[in-house]
């Protein structure tokens, strides 16, 4: 709760400072806000908070909050360069991010569907705006339109599911719903169909096939900064929410929906990776890779009683952010893959970060990505082994995609032109690189 408040306040401050056209100070403020939120989450319960009473309503784990804050911080810094130059919307941008982060924290691990829905909207609505934040560009506008309509459509569906659940159980409290369902009502079609509507809504949020269509278009239309934020925070929140809701409410009807999950997994991974192969736009490539990774994340539902998704999402975020940052570094205004040719040679740090990030996404040990994948499969294999087999085959294709990008980036150019990273980018790359290595301590 404290975290949310801190974020909200710093968001407001950022807004005002932004009006004063002081991008740097806006950055500082929001960074401070994020850090403060993270710290508040870290020290939760070790100090007497004035809001302690309300904390019960938003029981999001500290770890998740911290993860979200750090990821957002990295995303902001990684994409900050452009906003520093033409400081039109810096303040708006930053504060919108912070606001939607509040929503993310609210919805990540809900215990009440009402708060969850509100959190969801608080998360989404700012992003609709963020996507369309480039006034001049038609692509940005189109992306915003598409995202807005699909998004609100999805939230309507989700809402309908909530309503049906309420109809079946007469409560929004996850605990009560679970207990009510547990006493046998869960076989009532209404509850089940409600759960399916929820599933559809979640699938949209994390962008699993066939609810993924908004992904590539919106990612391409959005700026690198927003892309970073969307592709990480939204997914993380979405997967956490689905794990919580399904883990709490529908654990008894596991048998009915697990096959659907497997279907989503297989579809998403194969479709995502295969389609990524032919992309010429980096952002679309990242979008498809994120679709495939959404499929992987869904493995967390295979073993709902102890699903450990944290490692994977962290690894995924820490691998995606540097890539997008490097895309920003390559060329701010275009996302054509041709910019990536031989980019590793422009700057050693970029090279290192790139290699590690891509191998981490491909899931090669000893990088973080592998351990994430391993922890997921570890709990999944006993429950849905054949899905796991298919998933691994798909991830071979995925490795192809990433290696293609890697080979493109490592291609030695005739003339080596050095190019300096901006300070924030350097920090981001360093942090992500280190973190993707230090996953070793998990061995």
């Amino acid at each position: 709760m404290d975290s949310i408040v801190i974020l909200f306040i710093s968001g407001l401050l950022g807004l005002f400072v932004g009006m004063r056209r002081q991008p740097l100070s806006a950055l500082v403020i929001s960074s401070l806000g994020l850090t403060g939120a993270a710290l508040a989450a870290y020290f939760r319960g070790q100090y007497t908070s004035p809001l302690a009473a309300y904390t019960a309503y938003i029981p999001t784990q500290s770890a998740v909050v911290i993860l979200l804050c750090i990821v957002t911080l990295l995303a902001i810094w990684g994409g900050y360069q452009r906003y520093r130059q033409e400081n039109e919307h810096t303040g708006d941008y930053l504060s919108l991010v912070l606001f939607s982060l509040c929503g993310a924290i609210m919805m990540a691990q809900p215990n009440d569907l009402m708060l969850f829905f509100i959190g969801l909207e608080i998360l989404s609505i700012p992003i609709y705006v963020l996507v369309g934040i480039e006034k001049g560009s038609a692509l940005s506008a189109e992306a915003a339109v598409k995202y807005f309509f699909t998004g609100s459509f999805a939230s309507a569906i989700l809402l309908f599911g909530i309503a049906l659940l309420y109809g079946a159980t007469g409560s929004f409290q996850l605990v009560e719903i679970q207990s009510n369902l547990a006493i046998g009502i869960w076989q009532s079609p209404m509850a089940m169909i409600g759960s399916l509507f929820l599933l559809a809504g979640f699938a949209f949020k994390i962008g699993a096939v066939p609810f993924h269509f908004w992904g590539p278009d919106v990612y391409q239309g959005a700026s690198n900064a927003v892309l970073m934020y969307m592709s990480t925070v939204v997914k993380i929140t979405g997967i956490y929410a689905i794990v919580n809701v399904f883990g709490q409410i529908f654990r008894d009807s596991y048998f009915y929906w697990i096959d659907l999950i497997s279907l989503l997994i297989v579809l998403s991974m194969f479709y995502g990776y295969i389609t990524a192969w032919k992309q010429t736009s980096f952002k679309r490539l990242i979008a498809y890779s994120s679709i495939a990774n959404a499929g992987l994340m869904l493995f967390a539902l295979a073993d709902i009683h102890n699903s450990n998704i944290f490692l994977f999402v962290a690894a995924y975020a820490f691998a995606t952010i540097p890539l997008v940052t490097i895309n920003e570094f390559a060329d701010q205004n275009s996302d054509d893959l041709s910019n990536w040719e031989g980019i590793a040679w422009k700057n050693p740090l970029v090279g290192a970060a790139l290699v590690l990030a891509l191998f981490s996404l491909a899931g090669i040990p000893p990088l973080a990505g592998f351990f994430g994948k391993f922890s997921l499969l570890w709990s999944a294999v006993p429950h849905i082994p054949y899905t796991a087999v298919l998933a691994l085959i798909a991830s071979v294709i995925g490795a192809f995609v990433y290696l293609r990008l890697l080979m493109l980036a490592l291609k030695k150019p005739e003339v080596q032109v050095k190019k300096a990273l901006s300070a924030e980018q350097t920090i981001v790359l360093l942090l992500t690189t280190i973190s993707s290595i230090t996953a070793l301590y998990l061995i």
Binding site: A141, V145, F149, Y166, T169, F172
Partner: protein
């Protein structure tokens, strides 16, 4: 769950109406090209949900759902504002509100 109160038997009727509304909204959203109409369709869907929530709340006789309805309305309003502004911005760029004009982003 306590027993059904006043509207007990006609519960199904309300449900049917709201479901119908929802379906109409969904189909409209899928078929219509005008963005304003699209927005309206989505509003319709949300309101269908509202109706259902209210129905259930009366059925169970507890007020949670009705509170939820208010929230939903607020959310819907917010969405409408954001949506409209987005539409306007889009219109500035493409001089059209026909949704099919907006397909430069594709593979």
């Amino acid at each position: 769950m306590q027993a059904a109160s006043s509207i007990g038997t006609s519960l199904d009727f309300y449900l049917f109406v709201s479901f119908a509304l929802f379906t109409i909204g969904a189909i409209g959203a899928m078929t219509r090209k005008n963005m304003i109409v699209l927005l309206m369709c989505i509003e319709l869907m949300l309101n269908a949900v509202n109706l259902m929530l209210v129905t259930f709340s009366t059925y169970y006789g507890n007020g949670d759902a009705q509170i939820f309805v208010f929230f939903t309305m607020v959310v819907a309003a917010a969405e409408a504002t954001v949506g409209l502004s987005i539409i306007i911005m889009a219109y500035r760029n493409l001089k059209s509100i026909d949704i099919d004009m907006y397909n430069q982003l594709k593979n």
